[in-house]
């Protein structure tokens, strides 16, 4: 009758205590320790002299400026797309939904690559159509590219918020005589404002942390992530890089804390293949037509990006020589190690992360021990940590002589596991809230220990949470560049790094062929998983670069 107390008693079950200590130890070792190491690298004097002499003001201003600009435009476009998908009666919705998912499965910096192919000095549109050689590098280029790269993410986040708004209230408002616009302004917007705010802030975090796009087309326009990378790759200046990364972390944490205040820390959306079944009040036909035109334009841009990549991959020297060839795909065999590593690391990290996240969720959500709030916070924290910072932390903490025996590939897998753990963890906690404690207790009262009951009963019932954790971690593993850019070695390189290097070598054919292969591999794996899982959905956290 009375609440409180718990089914989990650490004192009487040593195995449970051991499991808890193991999870807490892993979290401390692989989430807390590396991050503290980065922050501590420069030391007090290092920070002082860096802030006095170091080049950080310009990148900081640039980061803030481009984050503000790109977030505004990306969210605006994403909102239009989301509104059209959720509210309008436009045609081709399944097509638009599919096109909207595509960018989540690919590294965001492929947009920068496509942009150079289309608008660069020898771009098919700028040079081929207009005969101009433009300087596309710099602020405007980054702004435009990030807008296109991240509006699909904003769309997913906003569509999730809008579709969770209660259609019955909108029906009621229409019933009372409000017009479509009135309903939206006076009912939908006020109800979804916190969710929309959180979506905007999440998009801002993606933009702020984005490394690939500014690295490819920023030119002299440096932002914090590219500045940190440049300091290490150019000058081996770990002190400066750590200081710049710490500034980046502070900004990301500020955005993240603001987001948590709005939505309580929800960090994933479920991207389902189906439309919401809830009927919404009809919108005027003119609005639907406008929505259709807007979505067609936006989907056209996305398809233009991927289309140009595919064409480039299949032609001799895009855009000057459009003769069909498959020679670029020979780079796949030359760099097959990178693709193989990507697949192995992605699958390994996804498996470990999903199971570990669910175990951690079980220990925290079902436990009654003190300190579980702290563990809860630490498990969610990586969602706020930029990939570049996270990777740098692993370099500083674990690239040590006494860890020579440790396989570098394993280190990348571990980084992927813990960087992505918040999504699976939160999915598990949400799932556990749906399962009455009496289910665990039934197993216990039949003679199973708490961990045995977890394995036999709770884990199978959390299949949905496991899938969310697995697919999201996998997708983010195959699309991230920033996390691995400091961690890879020649033996442990991955697809995104190879693409980045091929672009820097101005080997467009190879880079685009590799991109097509990487994205194709991710899609194949997800389709196979969906077929095995027997469900029609692909659950994804919005992936980040």
């Amino acid at each position: 009758m009375a609440g409180g107390g718990g089914s989990v008693s650490l004192r009487r079950e040593p195995s449970l205590l051991i499991a808890l200590l193991a999870v807490a130890g892993l979290v401390l070792a692989f989430i807390v320790y590396p991050q503290i190491q980065v922050v501590l690298v420069p030391g007090g004097d290092g920070y002082l002299s860096f802030f006095e002499h170091g080049n950080w003001q310009r990148p900081l201003q640039n980061s803030i400026l481009v984050t503000a600009l790109s977030t505004t435009t990306a969210v605006t476009l994403g909102f239009v797309y989301a509104y059209a998908m959720v509210y309008s009666d436009m045609a081709w919705k399944p097509f638009f939904r599919l096109v909207g998912i595509l960018p989540l499965l690919s590294p965001p910096f492929v947009v920068a690559a496509a942009y150079i192919l289309l608008f660069g000095p020898r771009g098919i549109i700028s040079y081929g159509v207009f005969g101009q050689t433009l300087n596309v590098l710099g602020l405007y280029g980054v702004w435009g590219v990030q807008t296109i790269a991240f509006f699909p993410f904003a769309y997913q986040l906003i569509a999730d918020v809008l579709s969770r708004s209660d259609a019955r209230m909108e029906q009621a408002a229409r019933n009372l005589g409000a017009s479509t616009w009135d309903v939206f302004r006076t009912v939908t917007l006020p109800l979804t404002r916190p969710g929309l705010g959180a979506a905007i802030l999440t998009t801002a975090i993606y933009v702020l942390e984005d490394f690939g796009n500014p690295a490819l087309i920023g030119g002299l326009f440096t932002v914090l992530p590219t500045q940190a990378y440049g300091l290490i790759s150019g000058f081996a200046d770990f002190t400066g890089a750590a200081a710049v990364s710490t500034i980046l972390l502070v900004l990301a944490l500020a955005l993240y804390l603001a987001k948590v205040r709005l939505d309580g820390g929800r960090s994933y959306v479920t991207v389902s293949g189906r439309a919401s079944s809830m009927p919404r009040p009809p919108v005027p036909p003119a609005v639907s037509v406008a929505c259709f035109v807007a979505c067609l334009a936006l989907a056209g841009i996305i398809l233009l990006v991927y289309g140009s990549l595919v064409v480039s991959a299949l032609t001799r020297a895009f855009p000057t020589n459009l003769a069909f060839t498959t020679t670029h795909f020979e780079y796949l065999s030359a760099h097959s190690l990178a693709l193989q590593n990507t697949l192995v690391y992605g699958l390994a990290a996804a498996s470990v992360s999903a199971v570990l996240a669910v175990l951690a969720g079980f220990l925290v959500q079902r436990g009654t021990w003190s300190g579980r709030r702290a563990l809860d916070f630490l498990l969610i924290m990586p969602a706020a940590i930029p990939g570049l910072f996270f990777g740098l932390g692993y370099v500083v903490a674990f690239n040590q002589p006494w860890l020579e025996w440790l396989d570098r590939g394993a280190l990348i897998v571990i980084a992927l596991v813990f960087w992505n753990i918040p999504i699976g963890y939160q999915a598990a906690v949400a799932g556990l809230r749906q399962i009455d404690r009496s289910i665990d207790e039934a197993a216990t009262s039949l003679g199973a220990s708490s961990l045995r009951g977890f394995r036999d009963v709770v884990l199978p019932m959390l299949r949905g949470s496991l899938q969310v954790g697995f697919t999201t971690t996998f997708v983010r593993a195959v699309t991230t560049l920033s996390l691995v850019i400091f961690l890879f070695t020649p033996q442990t390189t991955v697809a995104t790094v190879t693409i980045f290097q091929l672009v820097n070598d101005i080997n467009w054919g190879g880079a685009t062929a590799f991109t097509v292969a990487d994205v194709g591999m991710a899609i194949v794996v997800l389709v196979v998983l969906a077929a095995i899982g027997g469900r029609r959905f692909v659950a994804l956290g919005a992936a980040r670069a």
Partner: protein, 371 residues
């Protein structure tokens, strides 16, 4: 439920003893110094309104809560320090808590799998117990395909098959409709008697408690109010709380005039009766008492009728026909009495002035201070 080898008396069943068990949640005292004993093979019921601590007591026995003080003994073993899965108790939950991703057979066989029982034996025992609870042939169904009553039987079968020393049941019938509840109640009792297994059963339903139990433990605000056989609880409640909670009762204020060994002279409403003294200290003259009289122990008479040992006169305020009885509310000196006329027949009911006749041996005394 049919007989079978699973219906053979259980030899491993054990007695249960709680000594001064206390359980707090923050500042709330959920279980307050509770002690009681359940003999081996008995059916014990923890009875009380919601929030009285009965479920917390049961969950403390099961090991889902740690008691803050006191000892819990199953047989000769003190089990305080044993985790729930080593206590030899099995529990049937209010919402059944069937595993939705397992078939009925896998649900029932789960505990045997944990014990490492070989699969051939497991299968035999599962089929046996399913037949025993009347679910033979439903082993391959999923829990979601069963009715509430069937789910309840699966939950019981799942707990029985591991041969627990004590079976704990947490309001197992409360989610079922009235007819099914009554049917399953008899089945449970029959099952328990055939197995000779110790059952501890939690309910807020007094009918269940009275009809099922060998021992009833009435609880109030975390404390044990009274322990006894069902008829002791019903006819000789120790406090007005117990009298009021179990069934319908007339609690009439009176004063002790004279106390002798075994009997007490009591005055109420201008009448004097000699009654059997309640347990406990002798009542001194002048002490306030309550006369506890069940409605069915009273009889209505025409006002002019005489010949009863004790009779008070009043006026019928209203009556209700309940089929097996006619219930009257009779006003006596501004106070309402409830009188049940059993087997009322089709005769026209009493109206106007009536006399309420009662037999002194059916009047139970409760000392006022103890309530």
């Amino acid at each position: 439920m049919r007989s079978g080898t699973a219906g053979a008396p259980v030899t491993s069943t054990a007695s249960l003893r709680l000594d001064h068990v206390t359980k707090r949640f923050g500042t709330v005292l959920a279980v307050d110094d509770v002690s009681f004993e359940v003999p081996r093979g008995a059916f014990a019921t923890l009875l009380g309104p919601s929030g009285c601590g009965k479920t917390t007591t049961l969950r403390t026995i099961a090991g889902f809560y740690d008691p803050d003080a006191g000892d819990i003994r199953i047989g000769e073993r003190r089990v305080n320090d044993l985790p729930a899965h080593r206590r030899g108790t099995a529990m049937v939950f209010q919402d059944y808590a069937l595993f939705p991703h397992m078939t009925v057979r896998d649900n029932v066989g789960y505990g045997l799998g944990v014990q490492g029982v070989p699969s051939a034996e497991r299968r035999t025992r599962v089929d046996e117990v399913l037949a025993f609870v009347g679910l033979g042939g439903l082993g391959d169904r999923w829990p979601g395909q069963l009715s509430g009553g069937q789910q309840q039987r699966v939950a019981v079968a799942r707990a029985l098959v591991v041969r627990p020393e004590i079976l704990l049941l947490d309001e197992p019938l409360s989610n079922l409709d009235a007819k099914l509840r009554e049917q399953l109640r008899w089945e449970l009792r029959e099952l328990q008697q055939r197995l000779g297994m110790t059952f501890v059963y939690v309910t807020h339903d007094q009918d269940e408690a009275l009809s099922l139990s060998d021992v009833v433990v009435v609880m109030k605000e975390g404390r044990v109010e009274q322990i006894g056989k069902p008829w002791e609880i019903y006819y000789r409640p120790r406090t007005t709380y117990v009298a009021d909670f179990i069934g319908t009762v007339n609690l009439v204020a009176g004063t002790v005039e004279e106390g002798r060994a075994g009997t007490v002279g009591v005055r109420f409403d201008g009448h004097r009766v000699d009654l059997a003294a309640p347990d406990g200290p002798t009542l001194a003259p002048g002490a306030a008492v309550r006369l506890c009289i069940r409605p069915e122990a009273l009889a209505l008479r025409r006002p002019e009728a005489g010949g009863d040992a004790v009779a008070v006169s009043g006026t019928v305020a209203r009556c209700a026909f309940l089929g097996d009885l006619m219930r009257y509310w009779v006003v006596v000196d501004g106070r309402e009495w409830v009188v049940d006329q059993m087997d009322p027949g089709a005769a026209s009911p009493f109206e106007g002035r009536v006399a309420i006749a009662m037999r002194p041996d059916r009047i139970h005394l409760i000392a006022e201070a103890s309530s």
